[in-house]
Structure formats: structure tokens, C-alpha cells
Amino acid sequence: MAAPVLRWSCPARRWILANIDRGPRHGRGSPTGSRSSGKRGQSSVAQQPLATAQKPRKGEHQWAAVVGLEIHAQISSNSKLFSGSQVHFAAPPNSLVSFFDASLPGTLPVLNRRCVEAAVMTGLALNCHINKKSLFDRKHYFYADLPAGYQITQQRLPIAVKGSLAYSVFVGKNRNQVINKTVRIKQIQLEQDSGKSLHDDLRSQTLIDLNRAGVGLLEVVLEPDMSCGEEAATAVRELQLILQALGTSQANMAEGQLRVDANISVHHPGEPLGVRTEVKNLNSARFLAKAIDYEIQRQIEELENGGEILNETRSFDCKLGCTVPMRDKEGKQDYRFIPEPNLPPLLLYDSASLPAGADPQQVINIDQLREQLPELPRVTREKLVQQYGMLPEHSFTLLNEVGLLEFFQNVMKETRAEPKRVTSWVLNTFLGFLKQQNLAVSESPVTPSALAELLNLLDQKTISSAAAKKVFEELWRSGGKTPAQIVSEKRLELMQDQEALEELCQATMEKHPQVVMDLKKGNPRAINKLIGLVRKATLNRADPTVIKEMLERQLSS
């Protein structure tokens, strides 16, 4: 078979079909048994070329992929979910472990108020229905990093259900057409994290560090409404921004505060969903999209070659760029859920149902939390577009880069230049330099004040735009100097002396009579040549538009 061709539709990829019929929607729980009907003998039909606009051909040779996500976000809190030991990323092994975390007999779980608030806030931000009564359960399985042999989670009645997450993908040649999408949220639940196991290859043994055991997690379950890696990665990014804006989680994938598992299946449009596989170990946003796309492609190829997809768990190997099967699940995992006997139901209140005279430390008021919700990224972007007239995709870029929005706002505060110009400088020049040297905004050698000053000089027409770029480069390289200093050092100021400029124009025209002739004959490009010559004479210190005006005036007189 020739080189693999992606023949499934995903708007962000600009593949052929926009109107694929997705067929019946199934929840996460189904179907593990149904297989895509194997059209085995027909895979020899000519493959469709990529990215050509063709009439939609429904049926056999189109594939639709279905991606659902389970996202675990570590709650940003001082202490753990059910115990008073500290939550911290790097610490000596087993130093942040209480007796409960080590599951010593005689210990009981005590719920952390902050974690409940974090869950409610996240649920509200994601348009969920908050369950006023939610329950805790035990999920049993044996693993070395789970000392109790069970995990306390919320399986029957989670704290928030039925929400939605809106995100936007950019398509088109310049990636400037916005498509707004939504993914439904099945539920959000509170659960415990497990410890960490490290494999000591030298002595062939497994070492256990329980510092992470018991840390509060928010599990956000996204329905399988996504159809490719890019959509999934964008949705995850948006969720990250929301969690960070709320302060409920730092959602840093590199530090393990945000973990994503993907459930992927493929099917022919109009037919039932295919067997799904679960892909784990997706540790970064970059690999997330790659891994999902690889798995989709793998499943398509497998089915086209007449094979079948097993309902298994796979892991993404980032070095090889492919998914590999993980441990073999012996049949379905049976977690033997039981209600957590040591925890009564969790009751939440709103302003209407708040019991009178209740201890405020012991009750959680959903309405109060709703009022205190900080501004969500979506609202921030809308404000940027309205206030500064910038394009939507620019607002996305500003929010996507850590610290960039603050930088931009600081520059805006100190400069008189127009927002459009500031946006352009920040997103193109400044960001360009950062990316080239792989720096974060916080590591930038140029401060917002410096850029603001530079833009002021530009705005006042003290320097030309070409000169401004040079100044910026110098600012970047040499940190300490101010733009004004650099301008005077390098003599980059625009010529202010009108008379001198007039004389120069006159002189240039006399030196190049040929060009003047051309111009008088009506050749439009001759004027540009003249302007160029004058600019050279001024050592690039004159504004081309001013030169043009002057020349035209002199020629007409």
C-alpha cells in the first residue's frame, strides 16, 4: 500500500469534506464490542489526493475519527484532598506524607474545603450543573503506588455534570479564519492522586514515593465530540487557560499538574462507532496532537488492511513518535466501586438554601463563588478585541503566550502610540525575537517601558520605522540603554531640518536629470527611484512620505 493518506475530515486540517455525517452519538461507556464493518477487499481503490476540493464522497472510503478526553488537573492548594500534608512539586521523597496518605490503619479522610471550592469554581466556569449533593466512592485496584488499595473518587454522583467548553480553531491559508467549537463536559469529579513509582533498573526494583499520594485532582471528562489531534490539543489548551485564570490549578503539563488520556476510535460516517483504544502518557501539548493523529492513522490503516482494533490501553512513545500497547488488560477492569463509608454526602448550598446561622467555614455557597469568579479567557479576549480593535487571532496569541498579555498591557499604559501599532510590534517583532532565541516573556531583555518609549519616538516621527527596528535590535542585545540613547548614539533621528532636506532634494534632482525626465514623461516608478536616491543621500534619516511630498512640490513648481 502506498504512503499513508489521511482521509478523515477535520476542519483544522482543511481536508476535503465538511459535511461528514457523524452518525449516532454514544457516550463514553459504550461500545467496546462493535467493529467497523470491514470493507476488506476494497482498499485498493485509488486514494484521494490531499487537500483538493472535491465533491463529498460519502460512505466507504471516508473515515471519521472520534476523540474523547479524560483530563486530570492537580488542584492548586496548600494541603492534600483528605489530609493535612503539604502539596509541593519537588521535595525529599516521602517527606510530604501523613499517616493517612500512607494508609496506616486507624486514619480517616477529612475533606479539604479549598478543593471543594476549586471544583465548584471550575464547574461554574465550564457551565456545568453543580450537584448540591455529591457522594464519594472507593475505586479498588492493586498497585504499588496506591497504598490503600483503593482510590477515593466520585463515581456515582460527581460534584458537577453536563457542562461545555468552547474553543476556537484557526483555519485557512493564513490561519485567520476562526471556527468556534464546543465540546460537552460529561462530569467533573474530585479524586485522589496516587504516589509515584520509579523503576530502579540497576537493581531491578520499584521505588515508591508517596509525596503525591492524596493530592486533590479534578477529573474533567470530555465527551467524544472532537475529531482530530488539533481539536483535542486546542480544547486542552483552552481548559488550561481557564484553570489558570481561575487559580484552581496551575495546569502545567511539564510538571505533571495536567494529565490527559485520550479515547480514540474511527468509523465510517453513518455507521456505528468503532472499538476505542485509550492512549495514556501524553505529557505535553505538542505530543498530544501528534499521538492522537498517529493513533487515528494507525487505526485506519489497521482496519483498511483487514485487521481489527483491540480495546486496549496504549502509551505514546515520544522518541519513536508512535503509540505502543501498554499492559494487557485482562478483560474489563473491575474496580468494585463501593460508597466511601467514612465520608457523609457532600452538601453544597446556594443563597436560597443556605441554613440560617450556619458556620461560614462549614458551608459552601455556590452563588457566592459564582460572584467571585475571575475573568475567564474568553471574556478577556473579547475585551481586547473591543477595546483595541485587534483581530481575534491576535487576542488568542496574546493569551496563549505566558506573560505576553501583561507585557502588552504595560506597553499600552506607557505609550501614546496606536493600539494597532503596539499589537503589531508586540506580536510580530517582540514575539519573533523571543521565539528565535527560545525565551519566555519573563526572560526578555527588553522591558515594556523600553518598548513603550521606542514606540513613542516612532509615533512622534522622531525616527523612521526602519530605524525603529534597528533600535529594537540594539535594545535586545544591550539591555541597559534606553531607546533615546541608542537613537542619539547611532544618529538615527529623522532629519528635522526642512530646508536642508529641500536642498538635498533639489541637489538629487539636478544630479539625476534622466530620472527627472522619466518622471515628467509620466513614468510612475521614477518617483520611487528619486525617493530612494534622496533617502540614500540623507543616510536613511528622512521619512519617505515627506520626501515624496517635497519632490512633488518641487517638480510642480
Partner: protein
């Protein structure tokens, strides 16, 4: 009768349809017995509802807790072999002898007597603590920093890490023999 969550009861519940657990809790709610209860009970036993986790659907597949429980063993009182194997894997218990399995079957039969109670229209009780307030702890760090003490409990340690027992990377732990469990 006080229903303490004992391992036997839960294993029995796992083998039998999980209604058993819910029934036990419903039982606690009832204040007065109803007339004609035994006649209804007899009918119920004969109807023998099948398995299926009514609220305990396992996350992975949406199937019930009791994979093999559909056989509804009340009538014969027998627990099928594959269910025993399944339980052994899940709970890391070694049933070992025929005696142990017989013991299990007796436990299931004992718990099945709960079905004699008519619980139509009665809300299940999830927890005996349902009237209690769930205490919310403030988010302060008050524990931890006792690595030495904790590591003293471990069979093997390696520089402040617990060393997991062999074969625990992919769980194939040593199974507890049923006779050793004093139930």
C-alpha cells in the same frame, strides 16, 4: 441487626447481584414489617433478578460489578468457577479448597435473606452517616515531615523510598489464603 461492612459481606455482594448491598441499606430504613411479606419474598426468590450494577457500573466498560453474577445462584447456592477465579484476581484472595467456596456460598445465602424485605419505593441509604455533616477542613499544612517514622514500617527501604514488593509493578501479589483470613 447492625450491618458492619465486613469483607465477607462485600465479597458476597460482589459475587451476587449488587442489589444485595443496596438492599441491606434499605433494610435499615424500614420501621415496620409489611404483611404478606413472606409470600412476596417467596415470589422474589423464584424470580431471581439477574446481576448488573445499579449505580456501581464499573468505569471502564459500563458493565456491572458482577461479571459472572448473572447466574443468580440463590436457587442452587452454587458460585460458578469462573466467578471464583475472577474474585481471586480482584481481591487477591486464594480460595484454595472446596470448603472455602462452600463457606462463600453460605455467606451469599445468608445475605440473600435480605431479599425477603419489600423495599418498593424506599430510597436507598448510601451511608449510615447520611445525617451527619461533612466536616470541611481549612487548607492549612498541619501534617507530614515524618518520613523516618513511616519508613520504619516498611519491609525494605532504599534511601527514603519504599521498595515495592517483587511482582508489584504489574500486580501479581502474593495471595492471601482464605483460611488465614479469620472471618
Amino acid at each position: 441487626m447492625s450491618v458492619q461492612p465486613s469483607p465477607t459481606l462485600f465479597m458476597a455482594a460482589a459475587a451476587a447481584p449488587s442489589d444485595g448491598v443496596i438492599l441491606a441499606r434499605r433494610l435499615l430504613r424500614l420501621r415496620s414489617p409489611r404483611g404478606g411479606m413472606w409470600a412476596r419474598a417467596a415470589r422474589r426468590v423464584l424470580r431471581a433478578p439477574g446481576g448488573g450494577g445499579r449505580g456501581f457500573a464499573s468505569k471502564a466498560g459500563g458493565g456491572g460489578v458482577s461479571a459472572g453474577g448473572e447466574a443468580a445462584p440463590q436457587e442452587r447456592g452454587r458460585v460458578p468457577g469462573d466467578v471464583i477465579e475472577h474474585l481471586e484476581r480482584l481481591a487477591l484472595v486464594d480460595f484454595g479448597s472446596r470448603e472455602a467456596v462452600a463457606r462463600l456460598e453460605k455467606a451469599v445465602a445468608f445475605a440473600d435473606r435480605l431479599r425477603a424485605v419489600d423495599t418498593d419505593g424506599v430510597q436507598p441509604m448510601e451511608s449510615v452517616l447520611e445525617d451527619r455533616c461533612l466536616y470541611l477542613r481549612p487548607d492549612n499544612v498541619v501534617e507530614g515531615n515524618c518520613a523516618e517514622e513511616l519508613l520504619q514500617n516498611a519491609h525494605r527501604v532504599m534511601e527514603e523510598y519504599f521498595v515495592a514488593p517483587p511482582g508489584t509493578r504489574f500486580p501479581k501479589f502474593n495471595k492471601l489464603s482464605h483460611s488465614k483470613l479469620k472471618i
